[in-house]
Amino acid sequence: MKEAEIRKLLAVNLLCVFSVILTAIVPPFFWDGFTVLGTHLAWLCVCSVCVSTLNIILHLVLKPNLSPKRISFAHKISRFLKCCVYFFMSCILFHAIIVLYGAPLIESVTETFLFAVLLSTFTTLQCLCTLGPNIQAWIRVFSKNGATSIWESSLQITTICSIFGAWFGAFPIPLDWDRPWQVWPISCSLGATFGYVAGLIIAPLWIHWNRKQLTYKSR
């Protein structure tokens, strides 16, 4: 059972990785002059949209946390609206944190906001898909021994990796190398993406290696 689930997780994660890679490779065929660095804002949009659609589709198909009760349609709608509000709030919150960390306040607002959207896609959206709009569950998952399934462990790892990736992405900005990717927010968003991809790959492997120690409390 567990092995099968880990394999499933691996497959899903690899699909996500694949989609991230595709966002860099496919658009140039349709769109002249599209490059990740050159038209970075476009790539940010494409990447966010692709990753979020894929995640939502996967969530609908797989339903990793299928609840036993049947939920009414109105409830579903309210749930969906709640998710949207949460996502938007997380974008705003990330934007504020990024600005407080030293990003320009007035110039390049679009860039900063799109970067915040990307970060939210890599973190908040995953949480929304896996846990639903339930803050208490989020708080539980992000503490020691809080994960109750391998999906939640995977969520922990990818989220933390994305945020650390974005953090490390800020390091090359002051260097005087005059590279195109040192421009705000390219290095950070690339860092976040690499972190996310790394998290997706690491998560199944880590869970596989630590499957003996990982004993999930049943609900």
Binding site: L100, Y101, N134, Q136, I139, S143, K144, L175, R219
Partner: protein, 1120 residues
């Protein structure tokens, strides 16, 4: 409480660091003093009259040989670039490219010659330009009259040319603009900053060069090409681009020579070489080996070139060019004339006479310089100067005799010639030795000293870390870790001193102190090693304990990893010039990350959540504790503070698009009167707000109740200080002409108000030192028996009279309660503010210092200071909260993250108070706050400017003990809120809990250890940053940016270290002083006659606190 050992230990560690810094500095930073004198035509070292008469008009000191000169400087023209070897079959990209030079030397051997041009380290362009024009050996710090600009203050070739009416035209590198402002007849400057740009400067010069040469409206033309240097930095020498660049230079020279006239001297020089990677700055062979090419259309030399090109020191160019052009040699020149250029066309004897006369002038000038230099500085060794003096006087004597013989024609040519040659070689010897002496003390790194200094600092850091882990208050600790190492050090110093005395060598204090430091460190490690195995054996005796210890240690290491990781990033950032330049943004980034990580870690450990009801527990849902919102608010305030503090940054020239903050300029420079008034009111309001905040904090903790002079000062003196500062700002920022007749009054006021602030602040600090107790003791021992009487007897205010009955009722109730509480009624002494007595003293001291430092800054930076105080306050609260939430078992040890965040905030506010670690960014105005543009000594302005520069270091270091004290101060309200209602019995417990800082006094041993540990941790973190800077400066001493970025950074960091460590000691000793006062206060209390029938109560202090509450610490809010 052991006060002296703690202070002594910290002072000893500081001294270890200082010795390390001193040793490193002596090896790395070469200093020299700039003399203000300059040469002139009428100087008395001119040749004897018979020769003087032959001087043509327009010549000084020596006959002018050329009326015009073109100096082409090709930056980083290494000797190998200029050399042409026709035999080479497959030359490298940089070889055999300047074929035109070779063509000239072979076709016109008496007109042209190539030399090896030996540059002196540091081989950075600015220092080389200085060397090429002053004829001296510029060091990193040339101590001159003015630090604020880079302009050359010393006598130099350009100044001499201009003084003698020559027109100098310059084109090229804009470094010259800063060095020689307004010296040029005409100039074409091009930006030199962008190293990646190979062509802007060169093409700009080429555009102007030939038209200017052809116009003839010039006497000296200097063209400084940068392409070769930039190509080296970008691609390295071994690159096809370099070949292209050198070919371009070759073509340039070819057409330049076509444009020259017969009376023009052409000099092509490289200012330094480059390494295989294209860098320069250091002293390796490839960096110092540049090329010099001399050419004229009239014959220059009396013979052909030698087989192997001669090596010429770079400084030799200055006297040669000066005398060839007929101007005086610059005053501080130590170069030697290139004699072969002075031979002329006559026979050998007249040539030799000519050479002798220029050597004579040169030697006299060098002698004059050495004499006046040795009067102001002692860095040239005396015995060597003595020997030079002898050489010089004997040569001069012989010279006069020889001249008499020549006049009398008693000598025949062959004998005369040999005598002349002999004399010339003696002058040469003198000049060369003089230069060697100067080089030795001015232009050489001393790697051994640098490594030694580095090792000393590293070992001191290690010592700090170990001692902070080890610190215990036992006597044996101080004996083995302080006394013995000190003895070792003293013995080491004594032995070294003795050895010096026996060998009769001059005693170098620095060397002796660093050897002593090393010896005492060895002593420490030796004794530490002696203690260590004992501990290990002790643990080894109980195997289960050992394994627990291991796991705990592992956990502790993991806990250490995150603050230390941040520290590691900070240190790593010192090794990159870009990160040093961007440090103003790096420090807040790291601080924010540290705090966020702290909150994240607390969350991860589940410290922030509570499992509420059983139902939720079942579902696994968690929600936050109430305190978390408070913590999050604090974090947000901290982040906002950091972001806002970014508005006060100064700019560096490395970031050209940066605009300095508007807040840095004084209000007086503001044109808009309305904005000026608005800002002024804002600043004054903020000052008042600060005073109000401090006073209300003190009142909250009951420290404003007594009528001691200090408290009175806080009540009345603080507003007075603010008033004085506000008046000073008003006077200083008012427009000069608007006041008219009141001008004189203003002049007085501008001086008087700062002095009033200085005076008041020093009175406050003195009061603080004399009696730091801000405690009001209410002795209610008499009143214990009756309830009403004492109350009626002492009506404290009118209110009491008006509400006597309810008051009596209340008092009765209270007394009833207290009786219930203390089953057996005992005497109480209510000590208001005793629980925060240590912090109160520190807060008062910090506020006073804050006022002083704000006075030294420009008005609007007081906003930054307010942010500083707010951020420090928030940091302390975050630390306290995090500590409370994490449930630390060790209340007496300050965790690493707190110390590191404190220091990160200190360096953040170094930048946010408008400073940068570069010399032009120093606020020199601070020296004249309260002074009228005159200082009798250098000490006072240095102190003022230093205080201005290191303001944040001073405040944070003095406030460092607050990290230990704050959790104790904040303990009371927290515990009260948690338990709102309790039984009388529990209330008793609670009273015992509310000891706040008295908890520290209760265990004096632990208190002193905690202070020692805190000090050591602080020094460790500071020392690690310093070590990183030192290592960066040492390893990267060949780096392009070493003199622009790393060396100033190192200098500021080490000065900051010195200031911080001294202030840390002062802060800790203030706490000790308060502790002393508290002790005497307790003993007084005990000795005071009890007055009534009550038995004389309490025993000596520590015990007091364990007995059932004889001292009643009042709740802060209920002050009188």
């Amino acid at each position: 409480m052991q006060r002296w050992p703690v202070l002594l230990f910290l002072a000893w560690v500081c001294l270890l660091f200082f010795a390390g810094i001193g040793l490193f500095m002596s090896g790395f930073l070469l200093t020299r003093i700039e003399l203000p004198s300059s040469s002139s035509c009428s100087d008395p070292l001119v040749p004897p009259p018979w020769e003087r008469q032959s001087l043509p008009p327009g010549s000084c000191w020596a006959p002018q040989r050329f009326s015009k000169a073109v100096l082409v400087i090709i930056d980083a023209l290494r000797f190998e670039f200029a050399r042409f070897n026709p035999a080479k079959a497959s030359p490298l990209p940089y070889e055999n490219k300047l074929s035109f030079l070779h063509h000239l030397t072979t076709s016109q051997p008496r007109h042209a010659r190539l030399y090896r041009f030996r540059a002196d380290p540091p081989t950075a362009t600015m220092q080389r330009i200085k060397g090429l024009t002053t004829g001296s050996l510029p060091t990193f710090i040339d101590v001159g009259s003015n630090f604020a600009t880079y302009a050359i203050q010393e006598d130099n070739l350009l100044a001499q040319l201009v003084q003698n009416g020559r027109r100098v035209i310059f084109m090229g590198d804009d470094t010259w603009e800063g060095l020689f402002p307004k010296k040029f007849f005409r100039s074409y400057f091009f930006p030199s900053f962008n190293v990646k740009d190979l062509h802007t400067v060169d093409n700009g010069i080429l555009q102007h060069l030939y038209p200017t040469v052809d116009s003839g409206e010039w006497d000296v033309l200097i063209a400084h090409f940068l392409g070769v240097d930039h190509c080296g930095h970008k691609h390295g020498p071994d690159h096809p681009e370099m070949a292209k660049k050198l070919t371009q230079m070759n073509e340039m020279l070819r057409s330049l020579v076509d444009h020259l006239r017969n009376d023009t001297l052409l000099l092509v020089a490289g200012d330094h070489g480059m390494t295989e990677t294209g860098d320069h700055g250091g002293d390796s062979e490839k960096e110092v080996n540049a090329a010099l090419f001399v050419y004229s259309k009239t014959p220059l030399f009396d013979s052909g070139p030698p087989e192997e090109p001669e090596a010429v020191p770079q400084v030799n160019l200055v006297p040669t060019v000066a005398l060839l052009l007929g101007v005086p040699i610059p005053y501080s020149n130590i170069g030697e004339v290139m004699a072969e250029l002075f031979s002329g066309d006559g026979d050998t004897v007249s040539a030799a006479l000519q050479q002798l006369s220029v050597y004579h002038i040169n030697a006299k000038q060098v002698d004059r310089f050495l004499r006046s230099y040795s009067l102001v500085a002692q860095d040239l060794p005396a015995e060597k100067l003595q020997r030079l003096q002898e050489l010089f006087s004997s040569a001069v004597e012989e010279h006069t005799q020889l001249l008499i013989q020549v006049k009398g024609t008693t000598l025949v040519p062959p004998e005369l010639e040999s005598k002349l040659r002999n004399l010339i070689s003696r002058f040469q010897l003198y000049l060369r030795e003089a230069r060697a002496v100067c080089t030795q003390s001015w232009a050489r790194f001393q790697p051994l000293r640098m490594v030694g200094g580095c090792t000393l600092i590293a070992a001191s850091c290690l010592l700090c870390y170990m001692a902070s882990e080890l610190a215990a208050a036992s006597d044996s600790f101080y004996r083995s870790c302080l006394l013995y190492p000190l003895l070792w050090g003293l013995v080491g110093a004594f032995l070294l001193g003795l050895a010096h005395a026996l060998t009769q060598e001059g005693l170098d204090l620095l060397l002796v102190s660093s050897w002593a430091a090393a010896a005492s460190q060895l002593g420490f490690f030796w004794h530490w090693w002696g203690r260590h195995p004992k501990r290990a054996r002790l643990v080894g005796g109980q195997p289960p304990l050992a394994s627990v210890g291991l796991r705990q240690r592992l956990q502790a290491w993991l806990g250490l990893a995150f603050p230390m990781g941040i520290l590691l990033f900070r240190c790593g950032a010192m090794f990159s010039d870009s990160f040093v330049v961007a440090e103003a943004r790096v420090a807040p980034f790291l601080l924010a990350s540290l705090v966020m990580l702290l909150v994240g870690k607390l969350h991860w450990d589940g410290r922030l959540t509570v499992l509420e009801g059983p139902k939720q527990q079942l579902l696994g849902f968690s929600s936050y504790r109430r305190e978390i919102w408070y913590l999050l608010c604090l974090v947000v305030v901290l982040l906002v503070c950091m972001r806002l503090s970014g508005f006060f940054h100064q700019c560096r020239e490395e970031i050209p698009q940066c605009r300095p903050s508007l807040f840095l300029s004084p209000l007086a420079s503001l044109r808009n009167t309305r904005a000026k008034n608005l800002f002024y009111l804002l600043c004054v309001a903020l000052l008042a707000g600060l005073v109000y905040a401090v006073r209300s904090w003190l009142r909250h903790y009951g420290n404003l109740n007594s009528s001691d002079p200090l408290v009175l000062f806080v009540r009345w003196g603080f507003p007075l200080v603010v008033l004085c500062i506000a008046c000073y700002w008003a006077v200083a920022s008012s427009a000069d002409d608007s006041l008219g007749k009141l001008q004189e009054l203003v002049q007085v006021a501008v001086v008087a108000f700062p002095w009033a602030v200085y005076g008041l602040a020093s009175v406050g600090l003195l009061l603080l030192l004399c009696n730091p107790m801000t405690v009001l003791a209410k002795d209610t021992r008499e009143s214990a028996g009756s309830i009403v009487t004492p109350y009626l007897g002492v009506p404290s205010s009118e209110v009491d009279f008006l509400h006597v009955v309810p008051q009596i009722y209340k008092r009765m109730q209270e007394s009833q309660k207290s009786r219930l509480a203390r089953a057996s009624t005992k005497a109480t002494v209510a000590a208001y503010g005793l629980g925060s007595v240590y912090s109160a003293a520190l807060v008062i001291a910090l506020t006073l210092l804050g006022f002083l430092l704000m006075l030294l800054h420009s008005e609007r930076l007081s906003l930054a200071f307010l942010l500083l105080f707010l951020e420090a306050f928030v940091l302390l609260h975050i630390h306290t909260r995090a500590r409370g939430l994490a449930g630390d078992a060790e209340p007496f040890s300050v965790p690493w993250y707190a110390v590191i965040s404190w220091l990160l905030a200190a360096s953040q506010f170094f930048y946010s108070t408008g400073h940068q670690p570069i010399f032009p960014a120093i606020h020199w105005n601070a020296a004249f706050v309260g002074f009228h543009l005159d200082h009798s000594t250098n000490l006072l302005p240095a102190v003022l400017v230093g205080a201005n520069t290191f303001a944040s270091h001073i405040l944070f270091a003095v406030g460092c003990p607050l990290l230990l004290l704050w959790p104790f101060v904040c303990e009371m309200p927290g515990s009260q809120r948690k338990k709102p209602k309790k039984e009388p019995q529990e209330e008793l417990q609670e009273v015992e809990e509310h000891m706040m800082e008295m908890r520290l006094r209760e265990s004096p041993e632990k208190f002193s250890t905690a202070l020692l540990q805190l000090g050591l941790k602080y020094l460790f973190v500071l020392g690690t940053q310093l070590l990183a800077c030192v290592c960066a400066a040492m390893i990267l001493r060949r780096h392009l940016m070493v003199w622009k970025v790393f060396a100033p950074k190192f200098l500021f960091e080490s000065l900051g270290f010195v200031v911080s460590s001294i202030c840390l000691l002062l802060g800790i000793s203030l706490v000790m002083r308060v502790d002393c006062a508290v002790s005497t206060w307790f003993s007084h209390l005990q000795l005071r006659p009890a007055g009534c029938a009550l038995p004389p109560r309490p025993r000596i202090s520590p015990a007091l606190w364990t007995s059932p509450a004889p001292f009643h610490l009042t709740q802060p809010g209920t002050s009188l």
